[in-house]
Symmetry: C2
Subunit: 240 residues, 2 copies
């Protein structure tokens, strides 16, 4: 699958922002920062601290305006994504990077930011299970898999699916053996003590509680999707 | 297993440090920051930025000297752990917190920091697979499981095993349903594309490469363990 010269240095980066879900970013960082012959940087609207939804604070490496063209752009999700759906600096950054990046890699509701940038039109994609119904508003074909690869777009399901996806991305960049070496270092041989990681396997009361908890943000995400549907971005993309 | 009043507020914290492996910290943060009726803070030697082994920068919430008594102390691992094995401020902090904490939760080679604090004497414990041979030097009984619970000590295997362990800790603090709700939110239904997450399942050449890569740090970890063996800490603990 990969055909990149091992001598070609790869520039990998993530867009990070307030109220993101930190694990959407840090899970993939673990694998992607270890890609042979690569550099990983984080980018934010400015270089001040970025605060995750539950208070963990990061210092980004550079601002969006300082970012070079990336080979891979990681777009994490989280509630804070919703505040950026009409942010032209952010959406323009993603759209512009996507023109020449090898891969755009969305985790969780990071897919919706990619959607607002017009990157999901006609693409098979996935997102957090609570937001799957939003994807068609961005012209995407929802696929209920943990990792979905469609051309230069890799999207994953919620939060920890980003770890699974990041190892797939490593294999696409540097081959399966590199991915396996990183997997072994990370001891990624997961064993869950409880069976509740997906809507299909969680006990009904657990599913009910978490769905209720996501109700308000899901409604806001649907609204943003409808705004996109009415926008020229959608019209321009679908006219091609 | 858990018997803590849901009305009792829980104070959870992590010790973070330069050249830690960020995922040892951020994986468990994802679950532990969502424990009902709790607060999660990060603590470092000082409040300046903490830089992970691959360059990700965090801002800690407080310094060690500002830390209250915690209900749960998370101790992540990573190469930087080795520079702290004789650091009396750090080792003293862990030892002192352990006296009254409900649980000490080590991830990966964070177990070795707990070992230096005398917390592993006579305990069943685990760590990153490359460092399992170091555990007996701290009086521990190595157990080749991903998550090991022995009384108030929870230890996990390498890096991503911290995610598995953190959900077990949530269940011990707030019951299985809380753990399941967090698991469902995190979509923790892992599916690995490659089979290489443990020494027993990785292809031989992958195992060889990663083992070679860890050789120098493993030798240094053995040395620190031997220093501990010769120290009064070990003598005092084993005399009891």
């Amino acid at each position: 699958m990969h055909n990149i010269d091992p001598e070609t240095h790869l520039t990998i980066g993530a867009f990070i922002y307030d109220d993101m879900d930190q694990c959407d970013f840090t899970g993939p960082f673990e694998a992607l920062s270890r890609v042979p012959n690569s550099t990983f940087k984080s980018f934010a609207k400015d270089t001040g601290p970025v605060r995750d939804l539950y208070g963990l604070r990061f210092l980004p490496d550079l601002s969006l305006s300082q970012a070079p063209q990336l080979d891979v752009l990681l777009v994490p999700g989280g509630h804070g994504q919703e505040a950026l759906m009409d942010d032209e600096e952010v959406i323009g950054f993603i759209r512009s990077q996507a023109r020449h990046a090898r891969y755009i890699f969305s985790v969780c509701t990071g897919a919706l930011l990619c959607g607002a940038a017009g990157l999901l039109e006609g693409k098979r994609a996935t997102t957090h299970w609570t937001a799957m119904g939003v994807l068609p508003l961005y012209g995407a074909i929802p696929v209920n898999d943990r990792v979905v690869v469609d051309g230069d777009l890799i999207s994953t399901g919620g939060v920890t699916a980003g770890i699974d996806g990041s190892l797939v991305v490593v294999s696409m960049l540097r081959g399966v053996q590199s991915a396996q070496e990183i997997q072994l270092y990370m001891a990624y041989d997961p064993q869950t003590s409880f069976t509740a990681g997906s809507p299909g396997t969680a006990p009904p009361d657990v599913l009910h509680t978490v769905t209720e908890h996501a109700k308000a943000i899901t409604a806001r995400r649907m609204d943003a999707g409808r705004r996109y549907q009415a926008s020229s971005m959608h019209v321009v993309r679908t006219a091609h």
